[in-house]
């Protein structure tokens, strides 16, 4: 048994390294189609990593969303935009400063973090035992994640559905088909007849 567990940890390490390399490749590659292909691979890799970290539900979602929906969306965007980054990547000093501070803050914090894989980290001791017990007795649902998701923190999930709903409405507002014929789409000039009188007008109307 011990060898197999070690194996899982080695897989974990290798996958994480590959993940970092993929991210680096995404950063360097200019061909946007390659970026999409690599992003798909990135999602699958992270999903594999999530499986090794025991987060099967999350891996399930990440695969469906990251590798499936995201890829299709990005392709849809590429179909409507251009396929190549115009400028070769250059070093951005502001970016370097920002990531330096972000990274430094996190690295500063790591010594006090609970050890990776520790069974006595506060998260496991404080609330979670009652969740495990509760989902066995009160809710009687074997998948503890479902029990927490749908019942203990069901309100978060309601919010999550609202988020998806918001995104759907937003995309329809932005990209939905116009139905000029149904409502009689009024031209902008008709809406603002006095705009031409304005002496110091802002230019640049939407040309779509």
């Amino acid at each position: 048994m011990t060898t197999s567990i070690d194996m899982v940890l080695i897989v974990d390490l290798v996958l994480l390294t590959l993940l970092c390399l993929t991210a680096l490749a995404i950063m360097l590659v200019r061909h946007l189609f390659a970026v999409v292909a690599l992003t798909g691979a990135f999602s699958l890799l992270s999903a594999g990593l999530l499986v090794t970290l025991d987060a099967v539900d999350v891996a399930f979602t990440e695969a469906a969303v990251g590798a499936g929906i995201s890829t299709v969306l990005m392709l849809g965007t590429l179909a409507l935009t251009r396929r190549r980054e115009a400028r070769s990547p250059k070093l951005s000093p502001i970016g370097l400063i920002i990531i330096f501070f972000t990274g430094a803050t996190l690295i500063y914090a790591t010594p006090d973090m609970p050890k990776f894989g520790a069974a006595d980290s506060p998260g496991l001791v404080h609330i979670v035992p009652s969740y495990i017990e509760g989902s066995e007795n009160d809710i009687a649902v074997p998948n503890i994640v479902t029990a927490i998701l749908a019942s203990y923190r069901g309100y978060d999930t309601l919010g999550e559905v609202a988020v998806i709903f918001t995104a759907g409405m937003g995309v329809i507002i932005l990209l939905g088909r116009r139905r000029e014929d149904e409502y009689g789409y009024s031209e902008e000039s008709a809406a603002f007849p006095l705009r031409s009188l304005a002496s110091d007008d802002e230019t640049g109307k939407d040309k779509s």
């Binding site: 189609f33 099967v56 539900d57 891996a59 399930f60 979602t61 469906a64 969303v65 499936g68 929906i69 299709v72 969306l73 849809g76 965007t77 179909a79 409507l80 935009t81 251009r82 396929r83 190549r84 009160d138 809710i139 009687a140 649902v141 074997p142 998948n143 994640v145 479902t146 029990a147 998701l149 749908a150 019942s151 069901g154 309100y155 999930t157 309601l158 999550e160 559905v161 609202a162 998806i164 709903f165 995104a167 759907g168 409405m169 995309v171 329809i172 932005l174 990209l175 939905g176 088909r177």
Partner: protein, 145 residues
Amino acid sequence: MRHHLILRVVSKMLIPFIMLFGLYVQFHGDFGPGGGFQAGVIFAAAFILYALVFGDDQARKVVPDKALILLVPLGLLIYALTGFAGILLGGKFLDYDVLSSDPTHGQHLGILVIELGVGITVAAVMISIFRAYAGRTKAIDKEDW
């Protein structure tokens, strides 16, 4: 119709199984990995596959835009109304214990219903989003690859 014959046949055979898998994920979420969100995505994937292989107009015949705009809010309504049902039956918001005389059974019922709501909204939103992108006329034709 001459080309892509294999793709068409395979897709036609596969789509019912994808939907079956979607249903399995939807209702088996209590026992294994899965749940409403994942099932919704799988359902949407089946429709997206159909639209990709058989064309956007055919897909619109299967699920018309009007049906979609009804389904998107429906899932969220189911979820939120389950919450209100908790209040009306004398519990708190989203309290499933009161949904049935037996609290454990109530929990099961609540989880089943809300997961269904999640599934409906997610599937409808994903199809709408895909359709919004696909329905946009192409802006450019030839460019460097």
